[in-house]
Symmetry: C2
Subunit: 352 residues, 2 copies
């Protein structure tokens, strides 16, 4: 990695607040240049900041000799132009990801998007960072006595194995979002719920039933008081953390039978999340009774956090975001770029 990359990364760790200011000033300067000559109020409106804070910034930029203020408005100085030129190639490195975050966030109406640099499919380090970012987001949302429902998967596992806390979360509960899914033990929701709980000093409950059930088995099991009890806890979760998978990959991993997979494919299943299959538009293509979290529970959940990365996951993530009930997306650069490409295509279509 280049020296400069690492300097920027250090700065992002050590002074993220200042970089925000820097971006603001850069954008103001840029806008002034593009506008040739512009007044304070007009500029404030176009940048969507109030007159007063813009004024503070332009006063500053003036004092730095980057723009000059005349009777007819302000314009950029030679020095300011030079700075913009020099900074342009650096902009992407410094703020590229945060721009991407903002773009994805607004498109899908999310509360927050976090993008870690890299591709978690090809880099173990990125995968780890993805997990850490997920932990940070979860920690931020957890409150006293919360119930957190989580799904399985490698990304969630990565997260579980790195989750830490400063103070033990005695009153919190971790529960699996759904039952057993025939996956490897390490990535089972049950396993991860217990791992997370142990690592944070929280409590956990397990759901010892298979996820996909016939109608009859479903009703029978639901009458079991101890099953019923844990299911009620799960469905009351205030926070859900889930991974996102490619529909076909997930179906195969779960060893669903061939006819079912074919049916899914025929229906255009594209993405999988919390046990449901979605097509490109975010519509559920197949629903079945489940002991665990149902769609209606997800919709009612206060905080839904999606975490998934890797360039091949881009489309699947976009599909789930279309579904529209997530609040936070944690992903990596590779997937985010894929998503952005999809947005570009959307935009191209809508203008033709």
């Amino acid at each position: 990695m280049s020296i400069m990359q690492s300097l920027i990364e250090i700065q992002q760790k050590l002074l993220p607040d200042l970089l925000v200011v820097m971006k603001k000033r850069y954008l103001i300067l840029r806008q002034v240049m593009l506008s040739d000559m512009i007044g304070r109020r007009t500029l404030a409106a176009s940048l969507e900041i109030t007159e007063r804070v813009l004024r503070a910034e332009t006063d500053f930029l003036k004092s730095q000799g980057l723009l000059q203020i005349e009777a007819g408005g302000m314009r950029i100085t030679e020095e300011g132009k030079k700075l913009l030129d020099e900074m342009e190639p650096l902009y992407q490195q410094m703020f590229g990801l945060s721009d991407l975050e903002e773009r994805i966030r607004t498109r899908y109406g999310l509360k927050q998007v976090v993008i870690v640099p890299g591709d978690s499919e090809t880099s173990r380090h990125t995968k780890r960072e993805l997990g850490l970012a997920g932990c940070a987001v979860l920690r931020k949302h957890m409150e006293k006595d919360d119930v957190v429902a989580i799904t399985g998967g490698t990304t969630l596992a990565q997260m579980a194995n790195q989750l830490t806390t400063q103070t033990p979360l005695k009153g919190n509960w971790f529960v699996p979002a759904r039952g057993g899914l025939g996956e490897s033990m390490d990535y089972q929701a049950n396993t991860l719920a217990s791992t997370m709980a142990k690592r944070t000093g929280a409590q956990y409950r397990l759901l010892h039933v298979p996820d996909h059930l016939g109608e009859e088995a479903y009703t029978t099991l639901m009458q079991e008081p101890n099953v019923r009890e844990i299911v009620d806890v799960i469905r009351s979760a205030r926070i859900v953390v889930h991974g996102i998978g490619d529909a076909m990959v997930m179906a195969r991993r779960r060893r669903l039978d061939a006819t079912f997979i074919e049916a899914l494919q025929a229906e255009g299943a594209h993405a999988e999340a919390f046990g449901y299959y979605f097509d490109r538009t975010g519509t559920v293509v197949h629903r079945m009774p489940t002991i665990g979290l149902r769609l209606e529970d997800i919709m009612a959940t206060e905080v839904v956090i999606a975490i998934a990365g890797g360039s091949s996951k881009g489309e699947a993530i976009a599909a789930i975001m279309q579904f529209g009930h997530d609040d936070v997306l944690v992903t990596d650069e590779a997937a985010a770029l894929e998503i952005a490409a999809l947005l570009d295509r959307e935009a191209a279509i809508s203008t033709t």
Copy 2:
């Protein structure tokens, strides 16, 4: 110049206190690491900052996962260690100069030291930067209706030719600190005073008399009302900006006669500033009546700004700083390193 230097320069244009904050946080983190585990108050004392601001910083560093806070105090996290490691090789490049500034500042009891990177003897660009830095310092100190006395020399000339202002300084006066010194016209104090005044929309007065005079000529001239008048203005200067020269070089440039130069050499003259010659310890080795600013005027001046650079000037600068009546020193890296070497020698001697 390295890529990184230029990035930092850009950033500093947009965010002048970026490095200050960065350094502060770096030093806190570093101190925490060195102390293994340390409490807030102890740390605040050792870093010489108040408890409250340290607390704000440690809260921040904690939120960034760079240090953790426990009952027994705080300690650095793995991530924090990693950041320190990554940052260490960059430290010199980022803060080397400001450390140097601080060292020189405290040694000579100055209010401010500014060091520009490079060597102004070998690089025109550095010389230009030196001038610009001088301009910035002067601008900062200028107030309404100030009288600014300046000397001659190439460095001052560089400064004069770059001095700019945002708003015309109508009430300010630029005056030469001393009379004509037989130098080239371009570097005469008179010339520079008028240049500065013209460039900033200020006023100026000139002193059309030779600097070195016999007793008789001195008394005669001082009785001339128009001379007397401008001399009074000069001696009332609130700000003095002066260069610093090597004693022998200056003496030759001024075409002083050989016996006088020999006398100076015998007395150990080492440095020259505002027309006086100083030995290594900052003692004036030769004084003569002058029409312009006298030593006692300098001592009484509110703001005395010295500006000089180049590795060969190091010792001369140190000598003038020993004199002890400067408030601000503007120099370059080459000279500063020479000065630092002298300080090292001082320290070595005082410990033996």
